[in-house]
């Protein structure tokens, strides 16, 4: 069986195998190619300001895609993240008007924890399919938010300065404008990557997604893992909401909804299996960057809206398929 090492391997195969062992490489190459295309179409567009903007918009998407990555590892999905983020953002913006910031923050995170808990119990204890469970809670959440909106019409809304600073601000370091959102994102991403790779909880996510019965026989209590997972996912979504309201600066009742499907797409492009047990967060981050750059690219191409959507769909499909091909080589 060791003979394969002796026979010379053709160069093409070697490249493929190299990429298969480092699945991030092809993703990064794709990202670079997209940026180059952008630069060719609009010379000069790739400048400091553009990079900062792209990062700013990719971060909320990347965090939500992190929620999808973690839930997808267990074979689930969290479609309530859009609603949760919107709720946190809206509650923050309306409560800050006449509340202490700390209390407003706690109030804003409350629905996140609650929805996460309900999702977790529904999926973990009652074994409701995550797709249905999270769709249901997002419907309920949206309804509650609308009822809540009635009660605050009179008092108006305000974006806390701190969130605006975090969402839109940049800090020049050695001549380059770093978006402040990175202050939040870098530690968060590091934490997620570490959790998945080096903690018991991360191990359990992979194992539960792979074979739930086996984990049960090993003493794992499924409902605990799932509940902790969906609460984590919801809390992350809530934090994203706060960041996003700082970026958009306009509270609306559907603020983060448009991010939901792209967040699933980003996780999938990043190589996480929707069936569970396989994937990681680094790929997801690059997936989010790819989608953000792609959106810019399609905006710049002067095409009818219909053609743009067709192109978006085809590219997502093509990228996922190509990536699967490369990684399967292993």
């Amino acid at each position: 069986m060791s003979t394969s090492a002796i026979t010379p391997v053709p160069f093409g195969r070697r490249v493929k195998r190299f990429m298969a062992d480092r699945p991030l490489v092809p993703l990064i190459i794709l990202l670079v190619i997209l940026v180059v295309i952008l630069q060719i179409l609009r010379p000069g567009i790739v400048n400091e300001r553009w990079i900062a903007n792209t990062i700013k918009f990719a971060i909320p998407l990347a965090i939500l895609a992190g929620c999808q990555t973690m839930t997808m590892l267990t074979g689930g999905i969290d479609l309530s993240v859009g609603t949760v983020a919107t709720m946190s953002a809206f509650i923050m913006a309306t409560q800050i008007v006449n509340q202490d910031p700390a209390i407003a923050f706690l109030l804003a995170m409350m629905p996140a924890v609650l929805i996460g808990l309900v999702n977790g119990i529904g999926v973990g204890v009652f074994r409701v399919h995550p797709l249905i469970m999270t769709l249901g809670t997002s419907l309920i959440g949206t309804g509650c938010l609308q009822v809540y909106q009635r009660t605050v019409i009179a008092s108006g809304a305000k974006i806390p300065d701190f969130l605006a600073w975090l969402g839109t601000g940049v800090t020049p370091i050695v001549g380059f404008a770093f978006p402040n959102a990175l202050l939040l994102f870098v530690p968060l991403a590091a934490l997620i990557v570490f959790t998945l790779a080096r903690t018991g909880f991360g191990r359990l996510l992979y194992a539960v997604g792979d074979n739930e019965r086996a984990t049960r026989l090993s003493g794992v209590q499924y409902w605990q893992v799932i509940t902790a997972l969906y609460v984590t996912s919801s809390v992350l979504a809530g934090i994203t909401g706060l960041l996003y309201i700082g970026l958009i600066k306009a509270p609306s009742l559907s603020l983060a909804e448009p991010l939901v499907l792209p967040s699933v797409a980003a996780a999938v492009i990043g190589g996480t299996s929707i069936f569970g047990g396989r994937g990681g967060y680094t790929g997801t981050i690059i997936g989010a960057l790819i989608l953000t750059v792609l959106t810019t690219l399609l905006t710049i191409l002067q095409m009818p809206e219909g053609a743009r959507r067709i192109l978006f769909g085809l590219i997502v499909l093509f990228v996922t398929a190509a990536y699967l091909r490369i990684v399967e080589e292993r």
């Binding site: 069986m1 018991g200 359990l204 992979y206 194992a207 026989l217 794992v220 047990g277």
Partner: protein, 513 residues
């Protein structure tokens, strides 16, 4: 022999990435013969069967069916060519009832019914959903479904491995008659008794290569084992218990005391003790309640009556975690039930460490590696395919499921048929390991479908029939006929004819036409 082969495969090769499952395998089967395909775990037997029946494609190889070159591209094509398999795993569609399963494969119903009856299952409702049917019965249905279309070549991959003795015996009878009727059977089994009772010739595989074709004559076993294992040393008598071990004084109170245990209608009023430092064997025919007994002790299901005492304390298990906390670990017979197949060997072995809420934090990687490596070494797991457990062979997968509990240092291990479908070499290792565990003061409850193993490994035998405890006796009194009689619910001492397995050497090898 002048007859031309019914099926002739030569130079078959199959690679899974860097792993060569088959390198240069060949197989030639004559009409009317029952042909054994033998080899250690991972030798490539299942792979060859899958290739011959179109379930996977070979990378190389030449296939002749009745002298004609054929390319078998799909299971449907194999079926048309008269090749029908019964795979190692059941292949009825779980959510369809039996009747629909028959319609799906175009199997005639009446012959199927007749075969099912012949194979010893009297009360099958064709409208039962496959998912609700016990594993052993499913295997028999798979066989009956294959028989019903009267294939030219029947390929049985460890058909008898998951079967209780009564069903296995029926299967063997039927298979032998197939040979007599001029059809061919390719028969995979790790049980020499069956091979010598049934087969005419054997093809032996080692590391994906055919290393010999032998006629089955009395005394050929040694030769086959030699071929199978190459230079590996076998048949060291590990199982014999040392005298010192035996002399150890019995502890004051049992490790586990089961009293009047009842589970639904399947298990009734069962009481026995399990002591530290002993291996207790459970002997039962298929479906006599042993599954429920193990599941209840492992905390997988809740008993409906009776008590389980651990170290003198009454225990209530609501979840496997409770049993694990009490030091009781369960190794299921079905490996796919115990392993996260896409994860690494290391993660699978370390899985119980992360289970408890307080161990969800950062992992001490060095400590984990040392523990895992220790267990791997102790069980001599072949970890060339480290990355994903699903790439290990069946035997090595089984070792991983046991290694997990060695690493976690469980005090009591419940082993449910751990040697199912495992080659002789590995089996020996497992026997040795169980004895060693007992030697270190651990206790083992051991169910096996092979009676011979009971004598080799156990100190005491617990016999269950119809959900009730029949007898408990020391291993010294447990010769095979005695066990067999007890397993059929007959009182000790009574005489009864229990079929060919009781006296395997009495039957002649099937005659070639």
């Amino acid at each position: 022999m002048t007859t031309s082969p019914l099926l002739d495969a030569t130079g078959v090769a199959k690679n899974y990435g860097a792993v060569a499952a088959l390198r240069n395998a060949s197989l030639s089967v004559l009409p009317g013969e029952v042909h054994a395909l033998m080899g250690a775990n991972g030798a490539g037997k299942s792979t060859l069967v899958k290739i011959l029946t179109g379930a996977i494609q070979a990378n190389a190889g030449r296939f002749l069916i009745r002298g004609e070159a054929r390319d078998i591209r799909s299971p449907a094509a194999a079926r048309r060519a008269g090749l029908l398999p019964v795979y190692q795993e059941p292949s009825l569609i779980p959510d369809l009832d039996v009747l629909s399963n028959l319609r799906l494969t175009g199997t005639p119903v009446e012959p199927f019914r007749a075969w099912v009856r012949e194979l010893g299952i009297a009360d099958l409702d064709l409208r039962d959903t496959a998912r609700d049917i016990p594993l052993a019965v499913l295997r028999v249905l798979d066989l009956a479904r294959a028989l019903a279309v009267e294939p030219d070549v029947l390929l049985l991959d460890e058909m008898t491995a998951a079967l209780p003795a009564n069903l296995a015996e029926k299967v063997l009878e039927v298979v032998r008659r197939q040979g007599d009727a001029g059809r061919a059977v390719i028969f995979i089994s790790h049980r020499f008794v069956e091979i010598s009772a049934l087969c005419d010739r054997a093809t032996v595989l080692r590391d994906g290569e055919t290393v010999g074709v032998v006629d089955i004559v009395p005394g050929v076993e040694e030769k086959i084992v030699e071929l199978m294992l190459g230079t590996r040393i076998v048949k060291t008598h590990v199982a014999a218990r040392g005298a010192a071990e035996k002399a150890a004084p019995a502890p004051a109170r049992p490790r586990i005391a089961v009293k009047n245990l009842r589970v639904g209608t399947k298990l009734n009023d069962v009481s026995f003790d399990l002591r530290d430092g002993e291996v207790a064997g459970v002997v039962a025919l298929e479906g006599q309640g042993q599954d429920e007994l193990f599941a209840a002790l492992a905390g997988s299901i809740r008993p409906s009556g009776g008590t389980i005492e651990v170290d003198g304390q009454q225990a209530k298990f609501a979840h496997p975690i409770d049993a694990i906390r009490a030091g009781i670990a369960y190794v299921p017979g079905d490996r796919s039930e115990a392993l996260a197949m896409q994860r690494s060997v290391r993660e699978n072995i370390a899985l119980p460490f992360s289970a408890a809420l307080r161990n969800w934090g950062p992992i001490n990687m060095r400590k984990e590696r040392d523990t895992v490596l220790g267990a791997i070494k102790r069980l001599q797991i072949d970890t060339r395919a480290q990355g994903e457990v699903q790439r290990l062979s069946g035997g090595n997968q089984q070792k991983v499921t046991i290694a997990r509990w060695i690493a976690a240092d469980a005090r009591t291990i419940l082993c449910f048929d751990p040697t199912r479908g495992i080659d002789v070499g590995t089996k020996q290792e497992i026997y040795k390991l169980l004895r060693e565990l007992a030697g270190h003061g651990k206790s083992v409850l051991f169910y096996t479908s092979e009676l011979e193993e009971v004598q080799r490994v156990c100190d005491r035998v617990i016999v269950i029939f119809g959900g009730r405890l029949v007898d408990i006796f020391p291993v010294e009194e447990a010769d095979e006929p005695a066990l067999m009689r007890a397993a059929y619910g007959l009182p000790r001492g009574a005489k009864a004819d229990v079929g060919i397995l009781a006296a395997p050497n009495a039957s002649e090898p099937g005659a070639t036409p």
